[in-house]
């Protein structure tokens, strides 16, 4: 910047007036800029507030048809045939899935267990539901769950990833970056991270498996909604019944198809030992999640609704009927 000018030795070099003015302008500009930025930033200062969670109850139910049963129990066949018959009894998949729907199927893929160990939903059953969704004209069929054990292992070893992909479903593994904070609007469950695919569905099909559980006696359809949550969900046990009802009144599925092909009678929900597994060759499907849980609890664990307080609580919230005997129900036996 400083121009070399001829100068006598000993005299310090001096800037020209023009150069000095420019230098002052530069420094002044920087000072003004810094001060301006500081004042602006200072204005912006506010106590950080958490982002407001979106509020949205997910009601994916289709309108009821008095001609058709609310509950279908099919016994005696292989998983695919069982589902096929149950859907037929309920009026066919077209009743639930419309053309161009995005369908999200929620099996239980929580544990690093094989199908024989009956800790996750039967893969053949999942595959058949995927197939039926395509046949009904779905635009996208997604199969996903937020596993407890390591998800890569759960999705592989449950056989669900391979079976669902073979039928052309999009299998999505849980991913820490794909959760959105949602206000569940429950009594104990307020703001929770929910796995995004469950928020972006037109129709949701719940595909739980019936298993033993120490805390409540058994874990059935409503408990499967634990798997849409992220966050510190190990706290839900503290008020398990209220949590179940809060979840069930946030997420109202189009359809519930409960896997009772193999059920886990002891040491659930993880199991592992084949001696704990009973082959029931049954599928229970329907549009009333409360009645479904009540039927299975009574049928396989001989638990009356008073032993499962969440059933009554859910009925009070208008989510279904505890007294499944009063419902239109169809029981079929296939070869």
């Amino acid at each position: 910047m400083v121009e070399e000018t001829a100068r006598t030795p000993g005299t310090p070099p001096a800037l020209t007036r023009r150069e000095a003015m420019l230098q002052l302008l530069r420094v002044g500009g920087i000072a003004a800029g810094a001060a301006g930025a500081a004042f602006w930033l200072s204005e912006r200062s506010a106590r950080p507030v958490a982002m407001r969670a979106e509020q949205a109850r997910r009601d994916h139910r289709v309108s009821a048809d008095p001609q058709l049963p609310k509950l279908s129990v099919v016994q005696g066949g292989e998983p695919r045939a069982l589902v096929e018959k149950a859907l037929e009894d309920l009026g066919g998949m077209r009743r639930f899935v419309a053309r161009n729907d995005v369908v999200v199927i929620k099996p239980n893929i929580a544990w690093d267990r094989t199908p024989e160990q009956a800790a996750n939903t039967n893969p053949e059953l999942v595959a058949e539901v995927v197939k039926q969704c395509w046949a009904a004209g779905a635009k996208r069929v997604v199969v996903t769950d937020v596993s407890c054990n390591e998800p890569r292992r759960c999705f592989m070893r449950s056989g669900i990833q391979a079976a669902a992909r073979a039928e052309g479903a999009e299998v999505i593994l849980p991913n820490a970056e794909m959760f959105r904070e949602v206000d569940l609007g429950g009594v104990v469950l307020k703001s929770w991270p929910v796995f995004t695919p469950f928020l972006e569905a037109d129709k949701i099909i719940n595909l739980p498996i019936a298993k033993h559980h120490e805390l409540t006696g058994c874990t059935l359809g409503m408990k499967n909604w634990y798997g849409i949550l992220g966050g510190q969900r190990n706290r839900l046990h503290q008020q398990i019944h209220q949590s179940l009802v809060d979840l069930a009144s946030f997420m109202l599925p189009t359809l519930t198809i409960m896997d009772c092909y193999r059920i886990l009678l002891r040491n659930g929900p993880t199991g592992g030992n084949l001696e704990d597994v009973a082959l029931k060759k049954t599928v229970v499907a329907g549009t009333d999640p409360v009645a479904l849980d009540a039927w299975v609890a009574k049928a396989y664990w001989n638990l009356d609704p008073e032993h499962l307080p969440y059933l009554g609580m859910a009925a009070n919230r208008g989510l279904g009927t505890v007294a499944f005997e009063t419902l239109e129900m169809k029981t079929s036996q296939i070869a």
Binding site: D112, R113, T114, P115, Q117, P123, C148, N149, E150, R152, R153, F155, M156, R157, S158, G159, Q161, A162, R165, L173, A176, E177, H213, E214, L215, Q232, N234, R235, H237, Q238, Q239, I240, R266, N267, P269, T270, G271, G272, N273, L274, D276
Partner: protein, 547 residues
């Protein structure tokens, strides 16, 4: 003579092996694959570089009087080295290649004459032979301390546990905001970038490792040393280089210096990697040469060529001398008693030192574990971490399970599949025995146990806070479960009586997997935690009579 094509060939070879190394390291992880319900195995030969490593093979043989699994493959490197010299260092070793790259970067301290001076043979290059002797003797005495310095251990530990996780973090930090963008185009770009990178290089999940930052900084410091002195690590410390240098004394390939045409311009030193005196007038140092062939390329008079069966004056062995050899010997002899005079292995074992499933008893484990971190890299739950002091000084950077971060997945045996030395002996899920019930259905075999879980009843919700919980029981993977509950009436702060289920441990069923500790809602200090007592590998660390 035309310019030699050999340096270019060498460079290609270095690139190929560096990429191969990185690919295998990245594939040392459980990747989402279209697999079915069967057992899960890694398909890529991720141990390859360790099994090529004659230093690992030799020390493994010295310590265990046998050669584990694939270590026979080290002959693939050892035998050609006997004939051809240290070609491995110059042509294959990825650690060497990385230093080569850094060493080629422009640097103030390596210009012109300085560069030539820095590439002259230096006495300190013999330090690596002292390290080698000490390492071999220590292995013979029962510790694999050499794993701290073996180039592949160093690379896998540093890159796998530090640089790759850091890279993952950085990439995600860029991609995630894109994916969450409201602008469709940006969102799609972010998502497709994620899909592509996930398939090639990104880990399925972000991993974190104890001492990760330290391991990375140490490694970068080693690389940075190459800015001052070309291949500082290879020339002065690398014990594998020392071993290959020592065995290349009989090699039949060597540098021919044509004294007649040499005008001692010293240009051959400009790009010399080994510091092996390719210059005229002095004998070539066989044990230091990395066969990089740069000198052949640099020589303006074509005075230098590599030839078979030449008859020339050369320095065949490392000029280490009796005194230095004895120093190495003494250091190796002293290292084991010194470290074992410390607490750790002998006395005062750390309660939280949980070894991976299949790990040998501690003494045998330390005589095999090379602290490479392959087991930690592959663990799908990010459960295994390098120790700092939990295994004593001797056990620095050996693996320990940290259930708070990740528990041991019941039917997973990947750590035992990748361990190159058998410190974690290869086991099958059946031998692990956690899924089919403890003992009972496992053909009478005892399951592997890593430790035993205990309750802190002062923190456990049903025990101390009149609150329902038993998540630990839900997660317990053995069947019948090692956690059982007892109903108890407790009084809450309002004076009301509540009936709760209080959990307890049956130590005869507990396998120490840590799932309970991982799942405990008390995230900071869990109310149920695993300590090493009862680990099946250690007969002296049992609780129950009859185990």
């Amino acid at each position: 003579m035309a310019r030699s094509k050999l340096p270019r060939l060498r460079r290609n070879s270095q690139i190929v092996f560096l990429l191969l190394f990185l690919a295998l390291l990245i594939f040392t992880s459980l990747r989402p694959s279209p697999g079915g319900a069967g057992d899960i195995h890694l398909r890529a030969p991720v141990r390859l570089f360790f099994e090529w490593d004659p230093l690992i093979a030799l020390t493994n043989a010295l310590a265990s009087h046998a050669l584990y699994r694939g270590l026979l493959w080290s002959l693939v490197i050892l035998v050609p080295t006997l004939f051809l010299g240290r070609f491995f260092c110059g042509w294959i070793c990825p650690m060497g290649t990385l230093q080569h790259v850094v060493g080629n970067m422009p640097s103030e301290s390596k210009r012109g004459k300085q560069r030539i001076e820095s590439n002259r043979y230096k006495r300190w290059q013999t330090v690596k032979y002292v390290v080698l002797i000490a390492g071999l003797v220590a292995a013979l005495c029962g510790t694999m301390a050499i794993g701290w310095l073996d180039p592949f251990s160093l690379l896998v530990r540093s890159v796998g546990l530090s640089l790759l996780p850091a890279f993952n973090f950085a990439v995600r930090a860029v991609i995630t905001p894109l994916e969450h963008s409201h602008i469709a185009l940006v969102k799609i770009t972010g998502e497709s970038l994620h899909t592509v990178l996930q398939a090639v290089i990104l880990d399925f999940r972000q991993t974190h490792f104890a001492q990760g930052a330290l391991l990375g900084v140490l490694f970068l410091a080693i690389l940075a040393a190459s800015l001052r002195v070309t291949r500082f690590w290879c020339r002065s410390i690398c014990p594998l280089g020392a071993l290959l240098g020592a065995v290349s004394r009989w090699s039949i390939l060597g540098l021919h210096k044509d004294a007649a045409s040499c005008d001692k311009c010293n240009r051959c030193l400009l790009h010399c990697q080994g510091g092996d005196d390719p210059i005229g007038g002095v004998p070539w140092r066989k044990s230091e040469c990395l066969m990089c062939m740069n000198c052949v390329d640099s020589c303006p008079h074509s005075s230098l060529t590599f030839q078979f069966f030449r008859n020339e004056r050369e320095v065949t062995s490392p000029d280490i001398g009796r005194r230095k050899a004895l120093t190495g010997l003494a250091a190796g002899v002293a290292v084991v008693p010194l470290m074992r005079a410390n607490t750790g292995l002998g006395k005062g074992r750390h309660d939280l030192l949980l070894r991976p499933p299949g790990a040998l008893d501690e003494e045998a484990f330390l005589s095999r574990c090379i602290r490479c971190g392959e087991c930690m890299k592959v663990c799908p739950n990010n459960s295994l971490h390098p120790t700092l002091d939990q295994a004593g000084i001797e056990g620095l950077w050996t693996p320990t399970l940290v259930p708070r971060i990740g528990y041991c997945e019941p039917s997973c045996v990947l750590c035992s599949e990748v361990c190159p030395t058998g410190a974690i002996w290869q086991i099958t899920p059946k031998e692990k025995g956690w899924v089919v019930g403890v003992g009972a259905q496992n053909g009478g075999n005892q399951s592997i146990r890593l430790g035993t879980a205990f309750y802190d009843r002062g923190r456990c919700l049903p025990w101390a806070e009149a609150t329902e919980c038993i998540v630990c029981e839900e997660w317990c993977p053995v069947s019948p479960k090692a956690i059982y509950v007892e109903e108890a009436d407790v009084i809450d702060s309002a004076g009301k009586t509540k009936t709760l289920k209080q959990p307890r441990i049956d130590p005869s069923r507990c396998v120490g997997c840590g799932a309970c500790e991982y799942a405990c809602p008390l995230q900071d200090r869990p109310a149920v935690y695993v300590t090493s007592i009862g680990e099946s590998r250690s007969p002296s660390s049992q609780i129950l009579l009859g185990k």
